[in-house]
Amino acid sequence: MRHLLDTRTLDRATAVRILDVAEDMSDTQSREIKKLPTLRGKTVVNLFFEDSTRTRISFEAAAKRLSADVINFAAKGSSVSKGESLKDTAQTLQAMGADAVVIRHPASGAPQTLATSGWISAGVVNAGDGTHEHPTQALLDAFTIRKRRFGAESRGRDLAGITVVIVGDVLHSRVARSNVWLLATLGAEVTLVSPPTLVPQNVSLWPAKVVYDLDQALAQGPDAVMMLRIQLERMNAAYFPTEREYSRRWGLDALRVAGLPDGSIVMHPGPMNRGLEISSEAADSPRSTVLEQVTNGVSIRMAVLYLLLAGERDDERGGDQ
């Protein structure tokens, strides 16, 4: 694997391979010594043009557990606020000898540009770009669903026949997009639930059903219910009348959780708006996988960095020289 830019172009075999390697990574994290020498001497740069705590820390932990050196670069208070372009920032990192660049950027497609422009030869991992994709989040969600469902028998399996309901602000959500593509590739059936104002226009092309009523979707007895965060920072128009109304119609409260079939799980990528899209009863119930998702996130990111950096460099570097 040269880069990880999206889940849309990820084929089933590669996706299952990442999940399987993450299983092995997860096994090593229960050992007395969690650190592996695998990526000794490699440098991973976390290039974050957007605020993030958990994704950045998760990537940092993953790189450090594999003995890579980590350089954190936050756009705030850096040369970017002095007007430096993405190209110049990237080439500076290249000159410092970065082997992989983990990038989060408010513009959709920034990681793609970085990977294909020929500015740098490092592997690029998309850690969230605009409203496009957030592939490692989708991979860790798929890993969590598989692990809860199959336990120790997870290796080599996909998610054929598993039903997943994704609820909330699909319009602005890169997590929803990455999950729709990945879950469909792995054979799961995805239903999106959202207020009509928060459904993207091109959604008919996605491999997912769309309904507007949460109770109707939950009545099907899904295996996993994934709540999306209402991104208050992106609510720049009147997408729904009030937060209370949103919470009543599309929020996951105790009553809705109680109606779920045995064994179905409640997921949230975090950070949660408790009381808005998810109630505390739902977030803290035994069905909730919120903290497992965080733990699994480190394993998934270790797997991605391993597959990107450990082996021989393929020569399909995007327009190098």
């Binding site: 096994d27 007395e32 010594i33 695998t38 391993y306 021989e312 460099r313």
Partner: protein, 176 residues
Amino acid sequence: MSARTVLHEADISRALTRIAHEILESNRGAENLVLLGIPTRGVTLARRLATVIGEIAQTSVPVGALDVTMFRDDLAQHPTRSPRPTDIPSGGIDGCTVVLVDDVLFSGRSIRAALDALQSIGRPAVVRLAILVDRGHRELPIRPDFVGKNIPSSRQERVNVRLIEDDGAEEVTIEA
């Protein structure tokens, strides 16, 4: 491409039985013994050895798998390898006599990686090495304690171990 068979099914089985006796002899019984196979075929051989030792000593011997992929020093020279599961017996390995089991001993680099991998899991009292085929050409100061057969080979030749459980055949061949 001429392949010649150097060990047949009966030879492999005799070699494993002898190694089982040697392990018991050097350990003075089956006490504190843990067998760890190096994937893929080392794990199969470790399981078979555990069965044979169990029959001889009338006890059950803990057996597991130790993946060394993440500890290799030649990862960058090959296409990315997929790691295999590591499975340590529930009793752990602290204070035990760990016998590493692999099919072919060549450069010794896998065993070096295995020693590092072992270190991250616990601290055995003694570590020994059992090998079905030793083909020479060591690059590190590593030697086996129990050997099924020494097969002198040239570096260009390939030594293939095939086992029923993994390959559906049971033989060791050497290919020019």
